[in-house]
């Protein structure tokens, strides 16, 4: 077998000819479909690839996408953004978070606005940069506003681990990590009696790439078995995406309903066990986490275990953090869109439509 070169990992998975070849295979298999199918790509990384490479235009009319909720920034409810804003305004606090959070608006404005008002808000590429910031500012409290799905949670756990091992006294955490399988269940079988998920139009899931690197493909076993929805865990490159879509269409054409992995070069069934152990050590499930557009989703959020209260900014600053839930805009139909029961085109307000596009 030939030796793998780094450029193969880029070029071969972005090759236009291969994308077109898969388009042809999908078109052939789609002729065998008994009814049109809607595939939800759960993860925002896939949405990015689908949009950037215009993949829907390569698919037959009976294979459609429902774009999923997989962006940890977009789904953050206003009250959590307000927490970040309030924390950043506390005396002697440096609020640190990942760059994606800069412009997300809360009730009082975004973190960029807080910075304009004099708050010390810093955006980092990696959570580990908190250690250097804390060492250079020993008289300040560094609060890491942690966001992200399973992909990013273990990196926060490594930071906590190091803060404890190195006995760093001025780093604290505000945890907003969320999990993917729970929100997938919410979309197809909500436990909220006020939510009509019965008529959802999601027929299959394109499973996230890097969430699955950490958690393993085992987290999707229940979707074909209990909910009758195939899942194909797929990589982020356009050839990956087309192959993943092709695998889903083939399952429907052959009347199969399975969990399969297209992204075998990095995803296995069990995932990264060390990362999972770190998550398990420091985090536990919250009973509810509110998702912007979807409302309360049971068991979908993580919080620090009680043993680490001394590091938990939500505990330390509980007297100043607002606790009221802030309802979504009443014209927001994100929940319906995510269940395939509405379309971005049917959002009544132009302003909302534009903001949806920017999410």
């Amino acid at each position: 077998m030939a030796e793998l070169e780094l450029k193969n990992l880029y070029d071969n998975f972005r090759d236009g000819n291969t994308i077109k070849a898969y388009a042809k295979i999908i078109a052939e298999d789609a002729q065998k479909l008994k009814k049109p199918i809607n595939i939800m790509e759960v993860c925002g990384g896939h949405t990015h690839t689908i949009m950037k490479f215009g993949l829907p235009q390569l698919l037959p009319d009976n294979v459609n996408f429902i774009h999923g909720p997989g962006c940890p920034v977009c789904i953050m409810p206003k009250e959590r953004i307000d927490h970040a804003y309030v924390l950043s305004m506390q005396p002697n606090v440096i609020l640190v978070t990942l760059g994606d959070m800069i412009k997300v608006p809360g009730s009082n404005g975004s973190l960029q606005d807080a910075r304009a008002k004099g708050a010390d808000v810093r955006f980092v590429y990696s959570p580990m940069e908190c250690i250097k910031i804390a060492q250079e500012n020993e008289d300040k409290k560094v609060i890491f506003f942690a966001i992200g799905f399973e992909t990013t949670t273990p990196m926060t756990a490594v930071l906590i681990d190091q803060v404890i091992k190195q006995e760093i006294k001025n780093i604290f955490f505000h945890i907003n990590h969320v999990t993917v399988p729970e929100v997938m269940v919410e979309l197809i079988d909500s436990r909220d009696v006020h939510v009509d998920s019965y008529n959802n139009q999601i027929d299959a899931f394109l499973g996230p790439s890097h969430v699955s690197v950490i958690s393993g493909s085992k987290i999707y076993d229940k979707f074909p078995k209990e909910y009758g929805r195939p899942v194909v865990v797929t990589g982020f490159e356009p050839v990956d995406a087309m192959q993943g879509i092709s695998m889903i269409v083939k399952q429907f054409a052959e009347e199969r309903c399975e969990m399969e992995v297209q992204y075998k070069r990095v995803v296995n069934y069990d995932g990264n066990l060390k990362a999972q152990a770190l998550i398990e050590k420091y985090f536990e499930k919250m009973s509810l986490f509110r998702w912007r557009g979807l409302g309360n989703v049971p068991d979908s959020g993580l919080k620090l275990r009680e043993a680490y209260d001394a590091y938990d900014a939500e505990v330390i600053y509980k007297d100043v953090l607002p606790i009221a839930e802030i309802e979504d805009h009443k014209l927001c139909i994100c929940g319906d869109i995510l269940r395939g029961m509405g379309s971005p085109r049917s959002v009544p307000s132009l302003e909302l439509r534009v903001s949806l596009l920017h999410l």
Binding site: L6, L9, G54
Partner: protein
């Protein structure tokens, strides 16, 4: 946020907590604390995410995928192949067109 970059490990620190990776000519440091001590060796391809190595890329599986793609391409007839090359240049335009459709 969840996009990760394939890179090649060129150096590993003595305590095995950090490594240097090459991402298409650009070298940077990456944290190895999410990996078991002997998981990664110099020359491995890895996925990088917010400063951490999150997993090793399996060479055999990557090569197997590439072989599958070669086979698929061989099945395309000459006319399809010509069309594919032409349309390859149009993928960005296709993406923009799709975004416009959604806006309207």
């Amino acid at each position: 946020m969840c996009l990760s970059i394939p890179s090649k490990v060129v150096k590993i620190s003595d305590d095995k907590t950090m490594c240097t990776v090459d991402t298409m000519g650009v070298q940077r440091d990456a944290n190895l604390m999410m990996m078991e001590d002997d998981d990664i060796v110099i020359g491995d391809y890895v996925l990088l995410h917010i400063g951490f190595v999150m997993n090793k890329i399996d060479d055999d599986e990557a090569l197997a995928s590439i072989d599958t793609y070669k086979e698929i391409l061989e099945l395309m007839d000459e006319e399809d192949r010509k069309k594919a090359i032409l349309e390859d240049d149009e993928c960005e335009a296709r993406g923009e067109q799709y975004t416009e459709e959604i806006k309207n």
